[in-house]
């Protein structure tokens, strides 16, 4: 039997690691897969090329899978996620100037997200009173954790992300430059771009994404639902290759080799990738570091098994911020886009009960525990939201 040929799209980010290692270190070949990894420049391209069949599979922002399956913001194409490429990995980085303003207004430890969010609220009020232009924050895509984590964080302090600041979409490669030239005051982006900003002295990491949400599905392997049904066996091989690659990356002895492979594809220093993978980041130009073993989770702690609770949480963010209408049907569709059953079938494992922490599988730094069966009740607890007036229509 000849190898199955696959074209898989990806964006050069650290959380493409499982894909890169699977292809470049032989795990895909061992599963009799002949994979061409195609580097892309925008999430819109990845989504569209997957939608129209130019890609068999792709690394995709987890919320884009849900948006595409719901048909919000774009045409409806049922996309599913049989494998989770990474949890977490983002960070909020601010300019040195914004950092010192926030520090000056903090009534506690600025490393605590509620303290920094309240400081931001004070700063925003002060700027409004003086008639100064609102602060601008960059994020990578309307349907992204970067967008939702920024919003979750600032809303907790009383800042309305739609009224009090400006949120703009910026492609990751433009983030650092935009911070340097003052086009934005801060941003939320994935690895390695926060480290690039710190290393070049133009940014300071304020929070890791995992300090905002302890467990967030960041990128998934995405395939068309039809394709999955027609290529069940090939998909099984792919899930196994990625699982092997994830286990390889997770073993400390293999880190240098894995980091080198990833760095080669990304075109960045190996050290930058290593720091991200182990969760030990330089957070300030003066060399201060912060360590968190949750910073990015690839191939461990049950990270690779898609979790429908995570999908429901992402849908709840779309509702909270007016991207999607609220309905039981849409909740069910969103949850069903994450397919632990396909993951279990590929690996021949019995469904695991999942790890017990955080208890609600999401772990927001503030607010009630998340209950996917009561999104309406959950959202009622938030003061700042865009209720009842979704700005996007559902396209069918």
């Amino acid at each position: 039997m000849s190898n199955a040929k696959l074209r898989i799209g990806y964006i050069p980010l650290v959380d493409a690691a499982a894909l890169i290692v699977a292809v470049d270190m032989g795990f895909a070949a061992a599963e009799r897969l002949d994979v061409e990894l195609v580097r892309e420049v925008s999430w819109s391209n990845v989504r569209d090329k997957l939608n129209i069949g130019l890609f068999d599979a792709a690394q995709l922002l987890s919320p884009v899978v849900i948006a595409s399956s719901l048909g919000i913001g774009h045409v409806r194409v049922p996309i599913i996620a049989p494998f989770n490429l990474g949890l977490n990995g983002n960070a909020i980085t601010v300019s040195p100037r914004l950092f010192s303003s926030l520090s000056g207004l903090a009534d506690g430890d600025i490393a605590d997200p509620i303290v920094s969010a309240r400081a931001l609220a004070r700063l925003v009020d002060g700027r409004k009173a003086r008639g100064v232009a609102p602060l601008t924050f960059g994020m990578t895509f309307p349907f992204s954790n970067h967008n939702y984590q920024l919003r979750f964080w600032m809303a907790a302090g009383g800042v309305d992300p739609d009224e009090d600041v400006r949120l703009v979409v910026l492609p990751p490669p433009y983030m650092v430059e935009s911070l340097a030239n003052g086009h934005v005051d801060g941003f939320c982006v994935g690895a390695p771009w926060n480290s690039v900003a710190v290393d070049s002295g133009v940014g300071r990491i304020l929070h890791f994404g995992c300090e905002i949400m302890a467990r967030a599905s960041e990128k998934v392997l995405a395939v068309r639902e039809h394709w999955a049904a027609e290529n069940n066996e090939t998909l099984g091989h792919l899930v196994r290759a990625l699982t092997e690659a994830g286990a390889f990356i997770d073993a400390p002895n293999n880190r240098p080799a894995a980091a080198a492979a990833v760095a080669r594809r990304l075109g960045v220093e190996v050290d930058l990738v290593t720091r991200s993978l182990v969760g030990n980041l330089k957070i300030a130009p003066d060399g201060a570091t912060r360590t968190d073993d949750r910073y990015i989770i690839i191939g461990q702690r049950d990270a690779s098994r898609p979790d429908p609770v995570q999908a429901a949480w992402l849908y709840a963010q779309m509702v909270r911020w007016g991207q999607a209408p609220m309905s039981e049907d849409l909740t069910a569709t969103a949850s069903a886009a994450f397919r632990p059953d396909l993951y279990d079938a590929a690996l021949g494992v019995t469904p695991s009960a999942g790890v017990g922490e955080p208890r609600d599988r999401v772990g927001g730094f503030i607010g009630p525990t998340f209950d996917p069966s009561d999104i309406v009740g959950h959202l009622a607890s938030w003061r700042i939201k865009r209720p009842g007036r979704p700005r996007l229509s559902v396209v069918r």
């Binding site: 913001g73 990578t140 703009v168 979409v169 996007l392």
Partner: protein, 191 residues
Amino acid sequence: MLRIAIVDESPIRAAILEDGLREAGFTQVERIAETRNLLARVYALDPDVILIDLESPSRDMLEQMFQMSRAVKRPVAMFVDQSDSASIRAAVDAGVSAYIVDGLKKERITSILDLCISRFNAFARLQGELDRAKDALEERKVIDRAKGVLMKAKKLSEEEAYALMRKTAMNENKKIVDIAQSLLTAAELFK
């Protein structure tokens, strides 16, 4: 009359596209080369159709327009209709993507898109020819320099030096430019 905006960092391709559109009778065509303040420019132009190069990372910035219907006078939707996936595939293959205003007639869009595809493909061919011409020029330079080295080292005439390299290339089943390059590398080492 349709207003068309072209977002392309390649000024030559954008010009080729604009010419084609004007010839086809679309007179209101604007080019945006700068990605800074892209959304502000687009809002100001208020186009019916936005054509964007797929190699541009700023495509994701345009997606934000879906989020800000308050800011745009008319909502914009991307032209990916599954019923017409063949023409979309062709467009994406050629490297062009189009965003259109809701409710625009599909036939009109298809004619614009077809024009873009042929212009994008023509540009790609032109670029390919240019690259090949450049490569050929580079190769000739390498061969000329290697020839000079051989002439000096072995006291050969120009014809003899070239004949020697050609014979070696044939014997080793390699391209003459590769032999010339190895020769230059070796000469560098012996310096």
